[in-house]
């Protein structure tokens, strides 16, 4: 995911724009939060105008939709504030309407926004991955399950968890007077949007309602504080591990070195294998052996994981 470090950005400072991409019906507006320079994947605040009507249809990329205010109706089901939908690529959803209007967040994960009118799924669609939940009404706050953990007073509701990458989408809240006196960074991309409330980070200052960030891996953030409470939605692209420290001036490169060193101490056998195995191409028996397609980063003992392979036919077992 190639997006620049966008932090902080407050969408309340910019106006909505009309969505003019082919396929999208009239009546949808958006504010771009961040966009991938390679594949057009993006995160947007969206506004469905009162009376918005969208026929049944699908997108070429998976997307996530979170409703903040108002409501939408998909088929006969009404999705009000707190509703979250995960729609895999090619899955056709029923007609979407918004009689009184709505605002939400729309995340296109692996390609530019697209809408193709269709009342049936694309042949390659994985409908079983579709998910919908109302996070305000049907989920309860839990402590984070990270080790090391964030300080008490930061609670989460996990909306989606990818079992392979451990990427997840979650609501989080900070209770009034939350504070955490350390500096954190992660091995993953972290993205968040403030639905309500203001929190503070030592690097960036206050992030108010409508505040947003897209933060690439290994970038320092924290210490943290929140006076009156905050409700936000967050996402990662892989496992979130809290690398805590207290040096405000380290660079992402230094943080990455430290993360590798910590891997050596936490997972010595795995580290040794990754470093010394002749081929260094981890195979997950749960999934396709990507090497046949050259689509999995790996190296041949020289540490260069950016090389490619020509497509080969898949091996038969």
């Amino acid at each position: 995911m190639a997006r620049p470090h966008i932090e902080p950005f407050v969408d309340r400072d910019v106006p909505f724009k009309k969505m003019t991409l082919p396929g999208f019906p009239k009546g949808m507006q958006y504010k771009m939060l961040s966009i991938d320079t390679d594949n057009g994947a993006c995160s947007m605040t969206v506004l469905f105008e009162p009376g918005y009507k969208q026929p049944p249809g699908m997108s070429y990329t998976e997307y996530e939709l979170f409703i903040m205010t108002g409501s939408i109706t998909v088929g006969e089901k009404v999705h009000g504030p707190g509703s979250y939908l995960f729609v895999p690529a090619g899955v056709a959803i029923e007609a979407l309407t918004s009689p009184r209007g709505a605002t939400g967040l729309l995340f296109y994960n692996h390609g530019e926004p697209s809408f193709v009118e269709s009342d049936s799924d694309h042949p390659r669609a994985e409908r079983d991955r579709f998910a919908a939940v109302n996070a305000y009404e049907n989920m309860q706050w839990t402590s984070t399950n990270f080790f090391p953990a964030t300080a008490p007073g930061c609670l989460v509701k996990v909306l989606r968890f990818d079992q392979r990458t451990h990427a997840f989408t979650f609501l989080y809240c900070m209770t009034p007077n939350f504070w955490q006196d350390n500096i954190s960074y992660h091995d993953c991309v972290e993205e968040a949007y403030h639905i309500w409330g203001t929190s503070w980070m030592m690097q960036f200052g206050d992030l108010p309602t409508g505040g947003y960030f897209w933060r690439p891996p290994y970038i320092n953030h924290g210490a943290f504080g929140c006076k009156l409470g905050t409700l936000a939605i967050g996402r990662t692209d892989s496992q979130l591990y809290n690398h805590f420290h207290f040096n405000p001036w380290t660079t992402p490169e230094e943080n990455q070195e430290r993360a590798a060193s910590r891997l050596l101490h936490r997972n010595p056998e795995l580290y040794k294998w990754v470093n010394t195995h002749g081929h260094n191409h981890p195979i997950d028996f749960d999934y396709d052996h990507g090497h046949a397609h050259g689509d999995t980063p790996h190296h041949h003992g020289d540490g260069r994981v950016d090389h490619g392979h020509k497509k080969k036919k898949r091996r038969r077992r």
């Binding site: 470090h5 966008i6 530019e112 006196d181 660079t251």
Partner: protein, 84 residues
């Protein structure tokens, strides 16, 4: 299947190009705003480095430890960047 291969129309390519140009402007504005925040940030950092010696730094959940004076890092000469 994260995305289904498809061909982009000219309109889509033009839309993407425009959004990427706007994002570059957004990024530059953020960098400028964050550079302007430097004096406040320096003060916040000084207060943080003081607090972790008296109240402590979080290491896990509610567990904290006090940082010894000799552990306090020294500010390097390079520019203090927070946006990368």
């Amino acid at each position: 299947m994260k995305a289904i291969p498809h061909k982009r129309s000219r309109e889509v390519e033009a839309w993407l190009k425009k959004e990427l140009v706007e994002q570059k402007k957004r990024y530059k504005k953020i960098v400028a705003e964050q550079d302007a925040l430097a004096p406040k940030r320096d003060k916040w950092v000084a207060e943080f480095l003081q607090r972790i010696q008296t109240r402590g730094t979080h290491v896990h959940w509610d567990q904290m430890r006090k940082v010894r004076p000799e552990e306090i890092p020294v500010k390097p000469k390079r520019k203090f960047r927070v946006v990368f």
